[in-house]
């Protein structure tokens, strides 16, 4: 049932909004992992990031996509909680409280074992539009337990202009999606962060909507 709701949501809401109102310049679409398990590590500028990734997938695969999202925000009220878990299919991650990493990432591990494709925003909360915040180490903890999972860096640019944080008015802009090479053999969390930061910087430069004036 949830799978059908999600497919309808992608077909009737996500795709029209992303493809007509926004418009995407997708580069390296062939590098997108169509089958799990995999982790898409995306930079985060807007709520639209997740929607944009959804729109890239065939309808029969969208139920495999599991955005990892902050529990305190997405489960804050019953309606949003129902929508987030049942339609979007998020994996809630609690940001507050000191919990053991195993416990914290239990659901993520379960999803990886299930062959799902996790969408992760290592930069954490949505920063100032188009400004990457320091990558959090969480992704590495997640990976330590499932070292074979491929990580695919994905960069979006322009979404922070279309729908910045705290704005309700969506203004149409084309957005860039650039998919990077799968990261392999990452040994430490510092190495992973360095590789991701590096990859993001390179991918951003391929963006058509990227301006040398919007410094990261």
């Amino acid at each position: 049932m949830n799978r059908i709701i999600k497919i309808l949501f992608v077909l009737l809401v996500v795709r029209p909004v992303v493809l007509i109102l926004l418009g995407l310049n997708v580069q390296n679409r062939n590098k997108l992992p169509l089958n799990g398990p995999a982790i898409i590590a995306a930079n985060h500028n807007s709520h639209l990031d997740t929607m944009v990734v959804f729109s890239l997938y065939p309808l029969l695969k969208v139920h495999k996509l599991r955005p990892v999202a902050a529990a305190d925000y997405f489960l804050s009220n019953p309606l949003l909680a129902w929508f987030s878990t049942n339609v979007i299919g998020i994996i809630p991650l609690s940001r507050s409280g000191r919990r053991k990493p195993q416990e914290l990432f239990a659901e993520c591990h379960e999803a990886i074992d299930n062959g799902d494709i996790l969408i992760l925003f290592p930069e954490g909360t949505r920063g100032k539009p188009e400004e990457g915040s320091t990558l959090k180490r969480g992704i590495f903890h997640l990976l330590k337990e499932r070292p074979a999972t491929p990580i695919i860096p994905l960069v979006t640019h322009g979404l922070g202009r279309a729908l910045p944080k705290g704005e309700a008015l969506l203004v149409p802009f084309n957005c860039d999606i650039v998919i990077g090479d799968t990261l392999v053999d990452v040994e430490s969390s510092t190495e992973l962060l360095a590789e991701l930061t590096d990859s993001y910087a390179k991918l951003l430069n391929d963006c058509l909507t990227y301006n040398t004036t919007d410094e990261i």
Partner: protein
């Protein structure tokens, strides 16, 4: 006997075509011309397939596939009706404006003014559907021109105000005002019953795009002397002049069928379209060069973005419109 058979086949074929044109409610000459364009596309596809056997050329293949989509959609909206076609051009304006504003540098605080710029599109095309020429011709250059800076002032962000105001005005003029002239051709009083107003649009679109192609072909075969090396290193005088001659001749011979113009007036129209199409092309090239990008988007595989396809039309549409308007209306 075989000759008679041939005659009957050809005859019934023509009757069939005429029936289709009546059924689709597209005037005869325009319908013939649409078939001619489709057959050019078939020939181009065949050449591409044959060349592809020896050396596959992905970009050429994508380019031709995109052409099928563009022309297919265009002919579809033409056969549905005038208002559909006007909405279609409005949508093209939307895509082009969005693409333009996405690649240039604008400030976060310009979002609200940009929102109003988008709202101007349905209004501008609405004036077209009701045939209100007076408002159509001044709405953007006067009212929107004065309003947009006001909207920006209300935001209060003065850092970079001049640049943003300039970019926004230019973007709307290029992508909405100029392109909307194609749509207005559709509702002018009909002066050539055999072609209808679709004929005018077909003439403009075909001459503009064919000009791009012939400048490219002439440039490739004879090109020696660079015309604007700093902007478009591949453009040559030979390509420019070759295109000018080709389009002038083609326009002159086709004009009496598709438009109210005489052959002589058609020659002038061809000259106008060829020269101004070139200018539109290099203007958008300069924009891209300034931003250090190769294409404005990747909506049309093999072409780039929508702006990469309509760059010449931005210049040819208003100029051709006013030429025909001056001559006949």
């Amino acid at each position: 006997m075989p000759l008679l058979f041939l005659f009957y086949t050809v005859n019934s074929f023509i009757i069939m075509i005429n029936n289709i044109s009546v059924f689709l409610d597209i005037p005869q000459y325009s319908f013939y011309f649409m078939l001619f364009i489709l057959s050019l596309l078939v020939v181009a596809t065949a050449i591409q397939v044959i060349l592809g056997l020896k050396k596959p050329n992905l970009e050429l293949r994508q380019r031709i596939t995109s052409w099928w989509w563009i022309i297919g959609l265009l002919f579809l909206v033409f056969s549905i009706g005038t208002n559909t076609a006007i909405i279609f051009f409005g949508f093209i304006s939307f895509l082009a404006l969005k693409e333009f504003l996405s690649i240039v540098h604008i400030r976060q605080s310009d979002r609200s003014a940009i929102f109003w710029a988008y709202l101007a599109i349905p209004l501008q095309y609405y004036w077209v559907t009701i045939g209100w020429y007076g408002l159509f011709i001044i709405f953007i250059p006067v009212y929107l021109f004065l309003f947009l800076p006001l909207r920006m002032v209300l935001k209060g962000d003065t850092d970079g105000f001049i640049k943003s105001a300039g970019i926004l005005q230019w973007a709307v003029m290029l992508n909405v005002f100029a392109i909307s002239h194609i749509a207005f051709l559709l509702i002018l009083p009909e002066k050539n019953a055999m072609a209808g107003n679709i004929g005018l649009v077909l003439f403009l679109l075909f001459m503009t795009q064919f000009n791009d192609v012939s400048q490219y072909v002439w440039g490739k075969t004879l090109g020696r002397h660079k015309i604007l090396p700093k902007v478009s290193p591949n453009k040559t005088w030979e390509g420019f002049i070759g295109g000018l001659i080709t389009i002038t001749l083609a326009a002159g011979f086709i004009a009496p069928y598709l438009t109210p113009m005489t052959m002589q007036q058609g020659f002038v129209a061809g000259l106008l379209i060829s020269a101004s199409g070139f200018i539109g092309d290099v203007v958008i090239s300069s924009v891209k060069r300034d931003l250090q990008i190769k294409d404005c988007g990747n909506l049309l595989p093999g072409h780039g973005g929508i702006l990469d396809r309509i760059d010449s039309l931005i210049y040819t549409s208003p100029l051709f419109f006013h030429y025909i308007y001056y001559l006949y209306y």
